[in-house]
Amino acid sequence: MELNDTLRDIAKKLLEEGRVDAVLGFRQSSLAHMTEPFLATTAEQADQLVFNSCCRMNLAVYLTPDLFRSGRPESGKKSPRVAVTAKGCDSRNIVTQIQENRYKRDQVHIIGLPCTGMADKAKLLAAAPEGIDTITEKNGTLILSRDGKETVVSKTEVLQSNCLSCIIRNPVIRDEMAGDPVPELDMDSHPDRFADVAEIEALSPADKAGFFETLVSDCTRCYACRNACPLCYCPVCFVDESRPQWVGKTIAPTDVMAFHLLRAFHDAGRCTDCGACEAACPMDIPMRAFTRKTIKDAREGFGWETGMDLNLRPPLDRFDLKDPGDFIR
């Protein structure tokens, strides 16, 4: 059975049996290369659920206190239970959110999605400059159709860059799977895993500053990256504080850099490299260059890989004599 059929059957069953109050997933958007996060509360709505190579957002973003408050009142339950469809990275963010006491494990029913990566929006559009009416996926290829004409691209060629160095493609925690798990890429200890970061680390301080300044020079501070990020759930973000105001609101390099650097540090030991920030950016800014460094540091300094195990505490809220980082001794 097709993954989408299985997914819908699971969702319908959960809703019909009253085991959950809502199913959080994706549905097709008006554009072929986009999907939209969607909350199905009836079996009929569950028929709209899809999973494909355009589900770039991280659904953990939507697991907010509001969502857990807003279940069907007639269910009479105090805290509604929500099913969420989760790719490998989404599941690691769910683990992180549970570790950070956002909600409890038993409040979410996780429908696991075996993931072979997301197609980069810009790469897809470049492959089909005339536009795309429909996308069909078949044996590792994407067939982009336009007025009956087909462009076939290999999925590997259009993958988001974070998916190429993905360390977990199947969800680390799940209540059930909507398809057979896919083989992992074994990137976690691959020598090239952090080649991109090493390249930036090798720059002189002045070149590094120049590199990052150019990187974010197009930033309009729309905060799509922050709002698409499952880590950024502060009630008021530091850039939105007005009494006192910490950061200027212009697009001058100092203000823009203050936002990106502070956000990256705030995500240290918490980022799963899901790539939602880059997928969300309307200006195509590769801002993972910041967070990738924090992932590398967390691994090298604390032997930490984010969101892999519910029973572990994150590196920044525990003390461990066995931390591998020599810098704290």
Partner: protein, 372 residues
């Protein structure tokens, strides 16, 4: 309406010539490694607007309404001895010619003007720029699927907000001079006169481009709709579910004009800035008291669409506050499509009108009551 015909190889020299009289802004590749993206900006000597571009992710509105603009400078007196000092920012900009602007984006400039040139308030920065500006449009013959500008009363060849319209052919830019301002610019750039053939070709291209456009949304029922009916909560929470409340739609929108005012002080020197703001954020509508009338996410989402599609048409009587450029659809990270939202709102309005007609109630005008 005089036809013009500029061979492509003559366009660069023409722009160099125009730059002797005008400051020129236009679309240029943003970075060498980002060919697909062009941005509108003021050009340096030697640069030429790249009229082979297809689209810009941001609208050209920053040319009239910069994202961050200094309004005035001031000194904060220390020790209470000196009088406060205030200096208006002098306006030194040369007349700006925007070359290669899409006709619907130029139409958006006229919508911005409604806000910055009102009966009660005339914005000196905006108006000076606007009055000096020459708009040399480039017809959109590489329309994206998301463009629905004709449905919004403008279109890929609309001349109503332009001084000159150009269109790209194989080896030339053909077009027409529309206004006296356009005539002066054409003279300064040395644009060659065209023929009746060019006029015919332009009309043919217009028809061809418009016929290829996908049907746009219908918003005919919105004008007479009851504001409070449209405002009702249930459907908005559903429509807004996926919205992450970022500003990619408002910042890329050519008609969104909201701004924030900030003072930045370093030591004794201060500057007052006007900065783009977005109604999608919590801070936008936060009151000094701490109360926020749009605390929930869906209320901010609702405000954006209600403003564009209902409050604006009701207030100005000039149609919806949208030119159908499609940037918000292309840029939305979660796949929200304004055409879908318009469709839902219109269906709700049409349904309500039909129900009212059947019940023969009519006459009650909640919208008027709400507005008063």
């Amino acid at each position: 309406m005089k036809p013009i015909h500029i061979k492509k190889e003559a366009f660069g020299p023409a722009m160099a010539k125009a730059m002797e009289t005008y400051a020129v802004a236009g679309p240029v590749p943003d970075r060498e490694d980002a060919k697909r993206r062009h941005l509108f900006r003021c050009l340096e000597k030697g640069e030429t607007p790249d009229l082979e571009y297809t689209a810009t992710q941001l609208s050209p509105k920053a040319l009239l309404f910069p994202q961050a603009e200094t309004m005035f400078r001031f000194k904060v007196p220390s020790g209470g001895k000196k009088a406060p000092f205030l200096e208006a920012e002098s306006f030194k900009e040369r007349p700006l010619a925007v070359v290669g602007i899409r006709p619907y984006d130029a139409r958006a400039f006229d919508m911005l003007t409604l806000n910055f040139d009102s009966k009660d308030y005339k914005d000196p920065f905006f108006l000076k720029r606007c009055h000096q500006m020459v708009r040399v449009g480039l017809a959109d013959t590489t329309l994206k699927d998301t463009n629905f500008s004709t449905a919004c009363g403008t279109g890929p060849f609309d001349t109503t907000a332009l001084d000159i319209l150009l269109a790209k052919t194989e080896d030339a830019y053909i077009g027409t001079v529309i206004t006296a301002k356009g005539k002066s610019f054409a003279a300064a750039a040395g644009f060659e006169a065209g023929s009746a053939e060019d006029t015919k070709a332009l009309a043919r291209m217009k028809q061809e481009a418009e016929s290829r456009m996908r049907p746009g949304p219908d918003f005919s029922a919105l004008a007479d709709a009851d504001t409070l009916d449209l405002h009702g909560e249930d459907h908005w929470a559903r429509l807004a579910f996926s919205c992450i409340n970022c500003g990619s739609c408002t910042f890329s929108c050519p008609t969104c004009w909201c701004f924030d005012i900030q003072d930045e002080v370093t030591g004794n020197d201060g500057v007052r800035l006007r900065l783009w703001d977005t109604c999608m954020t919590d801070l936008y509508s936060a009151h000094a008291s701490g109360h926020n009338p749009r605390q929930e996410r869906f209320k901010r989402f609702r405000n954006r669409f209600m403003h564009k599609l209902k409050y604006f048409p009701d207030k100005y009587g000039q149609g919806i506050m949208c030119v159908g450029c499609g940037r918000c659809i292309d840029n939305c990270p979660v796949g929200i499509d304004i055409r879908t939202i318009i469709g839902e709102m219109n269906a709700k309005a049409a349904g309500a009108a039909k129900a009212a007609g059947t019940a023969k109630t009519g006459g009650t005008d909640k919208a008027t009551e709400a507005a008063s």
